[in-house]
């Protein structure tokens, strides 16, 4: 395509992929630290965690699990469509992924709103009557689902930007690393939720 002498844009597909994975490794350790905190305190105060977890809405947890796993499916399919050169499919599937992500966050907003109305926030009236272990549970709940929520928000923005770049023809199937890496990030967000869901909503 390019004539000799014109500096061709160098793309290192393997390097881009490896770089994304190295970033995800640091994310595993970031969330891992929080899971460590959760598991140590849970083992020390099982009864309090048990009682506090019963206060979370199982329906909301299951709904968000279904939404996030389905969004992972549409994202994986978007990458396949993209590699095949099916522009329409990939745009539609990316749009669905963004939509599912937004629905997830709205669901999370309603859930948090419900808890905050019950006075379950730092120094809130709902926490004052609870045992220290239950307060700790809600602290971990907000921090872990909050950090995860920020990741969902960032993933939505990332996929939305790539959606625009795909329309503008700036992301082409000759250079799939960016879309694939956005996909990896999105699946990682799904991965974290796969552990958050049983630990907060199920083990009661």
């Amino acid at each position: 395509m390019k004539s000799a002498g014109v500096s061709a844009l160098h793309r290192d597909y393997t390097g881009a992929k490896l770089g994304m994975w190295l970033f995800l490794f640091t994310e595993i350790l970031l969330f891992g630290g929080l899971f460590l905190l959760y598991s140590v305190y849970r083992s020390l105060q099982p009864a309090e965690f048990h009682r506090a977890a019963a206060g979370l809405s199982l329906t909301a947890g299951i709904a968000n699990t279904v939404i996030l796993i389905t969004s992972s499916l549409t994202m994986a399919m978007a990458v396949s469509a993209f590699l095949r050169g099916a522009q329409g499919h990939t745009l539609l599937l990316q749009a669905f992924t963004v939509l599912f992500g937004i629905v997830f966050l709205v669901n999370k907003y309603l859930e948090w709103g419900d808890k905050i109305r019950q006075g379950l926030y730092p120094e809130g009236p709902g926490l004052s009557g609870l045992a220290p272990g239950e307060v700790l549970f809600y602290g971990l709940y907000y921090v872990m689902t909050g950090l995860h929520g920020l990741h969902v928000l960032f993933g939505i923005m990332l996929i939305a930007v790539l959606w625009l770049l795909t329309i503008q023809g700036k992301v082409t199937s000759r250079d799939p690393a960016r879309l694939e890496n956005a996909g990896l990030y999105w699946h990682f967000v799904d991965l974290v939720w796969i552990y958050l869901f049983p630990l907060f909503y199920l083990v009661t």
């Binding site: 350790l29 891992g32 140590v40 199982l58 499916l73 396949s80 699946h187 991965l191 083990v203």
Partner: protein, 94 residues
């Protein structure tokens, strides 16, 4: 270029994986009603790990990647396992 690495996975493969993930979600909800206590937590984490394995190998293409990347993945996981393991030894037997 290493185009041979870019395997295009079929939709049907992904949809099958999705269906299994949904079934496992149902299973973990059901299991949480049946088994309690430490066994309950271990069951939940075990099912979550099977789900995570499916997401990693299919959605995240780890099964199609070169061995180096697949090996590298176990570095942070092993690090985390050591950190958690040693912390629990400290918490339980101090």
């Amino acid at each position: 270029m290493d185009a041979e690495r870019r395997r295009i996975v079929r939709y049907t493969t992904y949809i099958t994986v999705w269906a299994v993930l949904m079934a496992l979600t149902g299973l973990t909800v059901f299991a949480s009603r049946v088994v309690a206590g430490t066994t309950g937590i271990l069951t939940a984490v075990a099912i979550a790990s099977i789900k995570a394995g499916l997401v990693l190998s299919f959605f995240m293409h780890l099964r199609y990647e070169r061995p180096l990347l697949r090996f590298l993945f176990f570095v942070p996981v092993a690090t985390l396992a050591v950190i958690i393991g040693f912390t629990f030894i400290d918490v339980w037997y101090r």
